[in-house]
């Protein structure tokens, strides 16, 4: 895997008019990513459990919606916040469902799925680099690069779910403890990026993996009743609040990007 260099940030000469199809990584990016994770999880739970569709039907349904959203995203050929983040929420749901299916329906131990998804993710990056000679998320100009990007994202969500569940099973500290642990890991990676010269790509993808369990723990913390160590806002209030945060941030991003192009 490549280290990010100054050259990665400069557009190579042949691509001057090319438009990046995915967003730059800003604080707003991480806010929506974190909230999207929780929204995705609650939506999946709601369909599978409350509506009684079951894990299998929910997975099929959500995968079909995800495929549609992916067509929509690919057809934009540029970064449109509302479309991009719809795709992220859906991929978050499907990534989570893949892990849940493997654990609950197929009985695959979490450690095995963690190792399996790590290999799958590393493999995606290897093929991506072999094919494109770059892993830059600042130069997603072609359909092929975008396909690699989304495949990597799907695996980070599946891996993040497996790691999060594995940790909370191994330590038995509940969602608050798990949240603290993943918060510390992300803080440590951020310190590494800003102070110790950790490559931008490494920092980005590792944080992308670990914000999955962090977001899920945080959502549980807000939603769960006080008896179980949460704040007791309930899943509906939490989901609506998170949806509002996503919508506001996406609206702000849309406004800002349309101002920029004027």
């Amino acid at each position: 895997m490549s280290n990010i260099t100054a050259a990665d940030y400069d557009h190579p000469s042949g691509f001057e008019t090319a438009v990046n199809r995915v967003p730059e990584v800003t604080p707003g990016f991480w806010i929506i990513k974190l909230t999207a994770v929780t929204m995705g999880e609650t939506a999946a739970d709601f369909l599978a459990v409350n509506l009684g569709l079951g894990l299998g039907t929910t997975t099929l349904l959500m995968t079909a919606i995800l495929v549609a959203a992916m067509f929509w995203q690919f057809s934009q050929k540029r970064y449109v916040p509302a479309v991009y983040w719809t795709a992220v929420v859906l991929i978050s749901v499907v990534g989570t469902l893949i892990t849940d299916n493997m654990t609950d329906a197929l009985g695959i131990p979490l450690l095995d799925s963690t190792i399996g998804f790590t290999i799958a993710l590393a493999g995606t990056f290897a093929v991506w680099f072999a094919s494109e000679r770059t892993l830059s998320i600042h130069e997603v100009f072609s359909v092929r690069r975008e396909a690699f990007y989304w495949l990597a994202i799907l695996f980070t969500f599946a891996l993040g779910t497996a790691v999060g569940d594995l940790i909370s099973e191994a330590f038995g500290v509940g969602f608050a403890g798990t949240g603290v642990l993943f918060g510390l890991i992300i803080a440590s990676l951020a310190l590494g990026y800003f102070a110790l010269g950790l490559g931008g790509l490494w920092a980005f993808w590792l944080c992308y993996i670990f914000t999955r369990p962090l977001g899920a723990s945080f959502g549980d913390f807000l939603a769960q009743p006080a008896d179980y160590g949460g704040l007791g806002f309930g899943t509906i209030v939490t989901s609506v609040a998170f949806l509002a945060i996503i919508a506001l941030t996406v609206a702000y991003m849309t406004l800002r990007s349309s101002n920029k192009t004027k």
Partner: protein, 214 residues
């Protein structure tokens, strides 16, 4: 050093440091902190059970003197108190409540049988005392666990996926209007299941199924 190798090693160290710190804090800095899930649940589970333990210890002392009639009177205090708090306790931890309740019932019936058997009484009281000390551990001791007669784990003691039992409950309810208490148990089970808390979800579903069976 090759940049990829450097990044790999740096990431590994950056992840290892907080993980190590977290594990160390769990282990050494918080000695009173639970070291196993069973203990966490004991504390969060049914809360302080010392009042019950005192009564059981009294009953054991009285039973040792051979006066089983007096012992039966003393354990009735436990029954009264236990029934008084049943709603709250069951709410706190349905699985643990069911386990203690079963152990207590055995002690009552041992003392109340036509001709109480001193050895059976002592055995039942010792079992109840042990269960009160670690209700959740007792609830999770057997490999395949049942709550209210409903199997809630697989052969390895792992909780069944909560969706399975909820599906069963839904099928059972398909043609009937659930009573208020069954509906309440069902919504609690759904809420726990959404939180990926299979054990508690299954306890609520099992109680609902048991009520439906009457």
């Amino acid at each position: 050093m090759h940049p990829t190798l450097r990044n790999f090693l740096l990431s590994a160290v950056l992840i290892a440091i907080p993980v190590t710190g977290f594990v160390a804090a769990e282990k050494y800095l918080l000695p009173s902190a639970p070291t196993s899930t069973a203990q966490i649940n004991t504390q969060q589970g049914l809360g302080d059970l010392s009042a019950y333990q005192v009564i059981v210890a009294d009953t054991q002392k009285i039973a040792d003197t051979g006066d089983l009639k007096a012992a039966e009177q003393r354990i009735t205090d436990l029954e009264t108190l236990w029934d008084q708090n049943a709603t709250d306790l069951r709410k706190a931890d349905a699985g643990a409540w069911t386990t203690v309740d079963a152990a207590a019932d055995e002690a009552f019936s041992a003392l109340r049988s036509g001709k109480p058997e001193i050895s059976a009484v002592k055995q039942a009281l010792a079992n109840l005392s042990q269960t009160l000390q670690a209700p959740v551990a007792a609830a999770t001791a057997q490999p395949v666990q049942k709550i209210a007669g409903i199997v809630v784990t697989d052969e390895t003691g792992r909780a069944l996926p909560c969706e399975v039992l909820i599906g069963k409950l839904r099928d059972t309810l398909a043609n009937s209007q659930p009573s208020a208490s069954v509906a309440d148990l069902q919504s609690r089970a759904l809420e726990r299941c959404n939180a990926d808390d299979d054990a508690h979800a299954n306890a609520f579903t099992a109680q609902a199924l048991a009520q439906l069976k009457g």
